[in-house]
């Protein structure tokens, strides 16, 4: 009798534990593809030439080596590419903030739907229809293969992100605060600069990082407008591909090195990424 009661009490809890375990198993399976691609990238970069192209592939047991990373640096001016990517991403982000912060402030304050619509249309316009005129223009002005051309064009990637993320942040600033500043004799510019801007500092960090990431990743504009002196990382890695010869280790090492800064930055701004990608249509 006592035993029976005990068993009856025990059973639902055991069932609960089983269900929890089952739930975590499903979550694990669902997340496996996401994790596996990154795992494969990193492990390929750490394998020797023989093991990287070995079949059947080794999933866990392999000799770890850094020769692939050494080879990337030996065969390519890799630090130069990193610097190029950094200059372009940082330059376009700073310019984007200079133009985007006032624009976002005015969208949030005065509900400038026209401007908002312009940003949406800018998102719809295929990147390549900007690229043709830019190419013609920059070639005529001898600006192909300059930082200036790349920074200006990457602005098209970063500016809409900055405007939309920041419009969301400026909307959360109580209008009373900026109005009080105006009554106290501040100009509109002063109210923006001294009152609103310090309040949205976390937003500025998020918007800046997002703009930086998407410039860092940009392939289309750079593949045409970058040249020998300004080649950015994605283009450099693309040029390293040799479809005939299989030298996977160094390629995976280069891919890992491009991706790591992005992942580190992402961890800082992950809350704002969805809002940035959907032009503020979805907030968290």
């Amino acid at each position: 009798m006592g035993r029976e009661a005990f068993a009856r009490r025990r059973r639902p809890r055991a069932l609960g534990a089983l269900r929890t375990a089952g739930y975590y198993a499903v979550v694990g399976i669902v997340m496996l593809p996401t994790v596996f691609v990154f795992y494969w990238m990193i492990t390929l970069s750490l394998k020797t030439q023989v093991e990287a192209a070995g079949y059947p592939p080794h999933f866990f047991h392999f000799a770890v080596t850094l020769t692939n990373y050494a080879e990337v640096f030996r065969k390519n001016p890799f630090p130069q590419y990193v610097w190029n990517s950094f200059v372009v991403a940082a330059g376009s982000t700073l310019l984007g903030l200079a133009a985007g912060l006032p624009a976002a402030f005015s969208i949030a304050r005065w509900r400038q739907h026209g401007l908002a619509l312009t940003v949406l249309v800018a998102r719809i316009i295929p990147g390549i229809s900007y690229l043709i005129p830019w190419y013609v223009l920059f070639r005529r002005a001898h600006l192909v293969d300059t930082y200036e051309a790349l920074i200006l064009t990457h602005l098209v990637v970063g500016l809409p992100l900055i405007i939309w993320v920041m419009a969301g942040f400026f909307e959360d600033v109580p209008p009373d605060l900026t109005e009080a500043a105006l009554i106290d004799g501040c100009s509109h510019y002063g109210a923006f600069w001294r009152v609103a801007l310090p309040l949205v500092r976390p937003g500025i960090v998020a918007a800046a990082i997002l703009s930086f990431i998407f410039s860092w990743n940009n392939f289309l504009f750079s593949v045409i407008l970058a040249g020998r002196h300004t080649r950015t990382l994605p283009i450099a890695v693309f040029n390293m591909i040799n479809y005939e010869e299989i030298s996977w280790g160094p390629l995976a090492a280069a891919a890992t090195m491009i991706t790591i800064p992005v992942i580190v930055l992402t961890l800082i701004v992950q809350r704002h990424i969805v809002s940035g990608l959907t032009l503020g249509a979805v907030k968290h």
Binding site: V27, L44, V121, P126, S129, I132, A255, I263, I273
Partner: protein, 270 residues
């Protein structure tokens, strides 16, 4: 703003009315709507690319919406590790597409790739992935689905978090089961949010460029040549600026048209 957005758009529209090879010294020649006429009636390769683009976009958006929604429903509860799942989900969207494409090129390799090792062990036999014209578009779609399903999932998750409580309480009192609640309450309430997700995915899917360019360059034998790829080659391999500009206008019209349809769908009730 004027220089980087308005000028290019106006210029592209104007050049689409011209015949001009940027590789020659002769100046652009005004040809009226001849480029558009060629697009609509003469260019078989463009027609194929047009339908291929829409097919690819429909394929990936449908798959991403279904999978993203299913994942959001799965993750829509408190559990230990939820933050980690969210963080991991963001990584495919922000990782450099060139790097990701490169890794998939290696994973798809027909004889040495890990994908064929895995599918063979699962009993599907080796596949040709991006290495044959029959399967290339689907392999590319798989990469896109890997990259962007998390976006739909995160949007849907945000939508689920914002749903009102009352309909569920009423349903519980009426004795509705889980599946019926999902079908009659959750999905209808989630519809506007899902359409936003579909809108943003459709805009970007039609314009997919990086992964296709890196992995197949439109091949093998044009099997994955979307409008964007064809346009890129017209502009920057043949320097046929006039014709390429008309294609760019057409591509813009397609993306705009799809966006307007989706925005209209969002406004109408079912």
């Amino acid at each position: 703003m004027a220089l980087i957005i308005v000028y290019p758009v106006v210029y592209t529209g104007w050049m689409s009315l011209h015949g001009w090879f940027a590789s020659t010294l002769s100046p652009p020649k005004f040809v009226g709507l001849a480029n558009y006429q060629r697009l609509l009636t003469g260019d078989v390769r463009f027609h194929e690319a047009f339908f291929r683009t829409l097919y690819f976009a429909a394929l990936v958006v449908a798959a991403e919406t279904a999978l993203g929604l299913a994942m959001a429903l799965l993750f829509n509860r408190e559990f230990w590790g939820r933050g980690l799942v969210r963080t991991l989900s963001i990584l495919p969207m922000v990782a450099t597409p060139t790097a990701i494409a490169l890794i998939f090129v290696m994973m798809f390799h027909p004889t040495l790739g890990v994908m064929n090792y895995l599918v063979t062990h699962a009993g599907f036999g080796p596949l040709t992935w991006t290495y044959s014209s029959r399967t290339a578009l689907y392999a590319l779609a798989l990469v896109d689905v890997w990259e962007w399903t998390p976006l739909v999932m995160l949007i849907a998750l945000a939508g689920l978090a914002a749903l009102p409580r009352e309909p569920y309480e009423a349903a519980l009192i009426d004795g509705a089961t889980g599946v019926r609640t999902l079908w009659h309450i959750t999905l209808p309430l989630l519809r506007p949010v899902l359409i936003v997700a579909v809108l943003f995915r459709a805009i970007d899917a039609i314009k997919t460029f990086d992964i296709i360019f890196v992995m197949t360059q439109g091949g093998p034998s044009n099997a994955s040549e979307t409008i964007n790829l064809l346009l890129f080659n017209q502009a920057f391999a043949y320097f046929n600026i006039g014709y390429a500009s008309s294609m760019a206008v057409a591509l813009f019209a397609i993306v705009m048209g799809v966006s307007l349809i989706l925005i209209k769908v969002r406004r109408t009730a079912w």
